[in-house]
């Protein structure tokens, strides 16, 4: 697996919802192997920023630039390539965990056996119906889904929510390995996570 140059840069990102100005000119950057930690109280715009970065929301103003392997990608490219973990990510309850993952790997056009190593470590019960998962297991499924296509950029919104201690440990390991391999990550969390060496911090608190 080649180490590709991954660089994300955003400047003066603005987003309003009706009269409420949620993001008022936010800037930041993260490079290969780096992690940008976005903190702030509830309602400060962390999720909104992450959605903009993921290409799920168009900002009202500002610029978002993402390069992967020397190739510059637009919002559609970010949607396709980034690995996203978010509390509002849900999967098909009428399908099993395995069927869900297989479906999405078909959509992403990755061979189904890729990303299996991460799935193994997360201990996902492939034969269980997705509707029958506990909230901790659902969070593991989100991580497994995000890593399915071996993304170079991880966008994580409250990534350790609902985790028990072993689950959080595995996720932290996966994140550390991702960064060590040259990937980049933007992590949004209400509180500052105990992460030691963090490349950049962005506090959206007022």
């Amino acid at each position: 697996m080649l180490t590709t140059t991954t660089a994300l840069r955003f400047e003066n990102v603005r987003r309003r919802f009706g009269r409420l100005s949620v993001l008022q000119g936010v800037s930041g950057a993260v490079g290969p192997g780096g992690m940008l930690l976005v903190t702030g109280p509830n309602g400060s715009g962390k999720s909104t920023l992450l959605r903009c970065l993921a290409g799920l929301l168009a900002p009202d103003g500002g610029m978002i630039e993402y390069t992967e392997g020397g190739e510059s990608l637009d919002a559609a490219g970010r949607r396709r390539r980034a690995g996203v973990v978010s509390p509002d990510l849900a999967f098909y309850g009428e399908l099993t965990v395995g069927e869900n993952l297989e479906f999405f790997s078909r959509l992403r056009r990755t061979p189904p056996d890729r990303g299996l190593a991460a799935l193994d470590r997360l201990g996902l019960p492939l034969d269980r119906m997705a509707s029958a998962l506990s909230s901790g297991m659902r969070q593991r499924l989100r991580w497994g889904w995000a890593l399915l296509h071996q993304p170079r950029l991880l966008l994580l919104d409250e990534p350790f929510q609902n985790f028990d201690a072993p689950g959080e440990r595995i996720a932290r390991e996966l994140l550390a390995e991702h960064l060590a391999a040259g990937g980049a990550a933007v992590v949004a969390n209400p509180s500052t996570l105990d992460f030691g060496d963090v490349a950049g911090r962005l506090d959206l608190g007022r």
Binding site: F17, G18, R19, L20, A58
Partner: protein
């Protein structure tokens, strides 16, 4: 300059109204003075048609450029199209009552105008159910383009399938006219005047809305 244009438009439309009653002759085959309504009904129906196309074109522009002013223009065009369309429908129904004894016959032209009104209503209902500005603009524009694409089937293909009570097209595709030239003059003048009126009101309303948006952006 604007004031001058406004006065000109006022004069033009006044001349059309006067001409409709005094200058143009009565059409053959119509009962009494009823053909006068033609000079109001036809321009309004025409403007309703123009509004439909304009909304579609502005929506396409928005989808291409993503400039909010195009979205605003499309929405205002639909509102005005609805207004003119309702007026055209009512005048048409009144005329139908005089001519054929029934307000409504579901002939192709009447059906077309009603469906156009349904489109306008649906577009406005869609807009009012979406709160996020970007989403509202995108989805409304998509629906308007869909309407634009489906419209030819309504306006042109359907009449050929269905039985028609509507009088022969006053100005048909080949440009031949079946009425006297004075009537044509008033009709054309009326249509031109109403079209100008449409774009005038449209311009005013767009500007008012732009100001309202700026005001609400300041007060947050």
């Amino acid at each position: 300059m604007r004031k001058l244009l406004a006065w000109l438009l006022w004069l033009w439309l006044s001349a059309v109204i006067v001409g409709a009653f005094l200058y143009a002759p009565l059409a053959k085959g119509f009962i009494g003075q009823s053909s006068r309504i033609l000079f109001f009904h036809v321009p309004m129906a025409w403007v309703s048609f123009v509004a439909f196309i304009a909304a579609g074109v502005w929506s396409l522009l928005f989808l291409w450029r993503r400039d909010p002013k195009h979205d605003r223009a499309a929405a205002v065009a639909v509102e005005l199209g609805l207004l003119f369309g309702v007026l055209a429908t009512v005048t048409g129904a009144l005329w139908a009552r005089v001519m054929w004894g029934a307000y409504w016959n579901w002939d192709p032209r009447q059906t077309s105008i009603v469906v156009a009104l349904l489109f306008y209503g649906a577009y406005l209902a869609l807009r009012s159910s979406l709160e996020d500005r970007d989403q509202r603009a995108r989805l409304a524009a998509a629906y308007a383009v869909l309407g634009l694409v489906v419209a030819p089937f309504l306006f042109f293909i359907m009449p050929r399938i269905m039985f028609s009570l509507h009088p022969q097209s006053v100005i048909n595709a080949q440009g031949k006219v079946e009425v006297e030239s004075r009537m044509v003059q008033v009709l054309l003048a009326g249509s031109a005047g109403c079209t100008a009126l449409f774009f005038w009101i449209h311009n005013l309303r767009c500007r008012v809305q732009a100001l309202a948006e700026r005001k609400s952006a300041l007060y947050e």
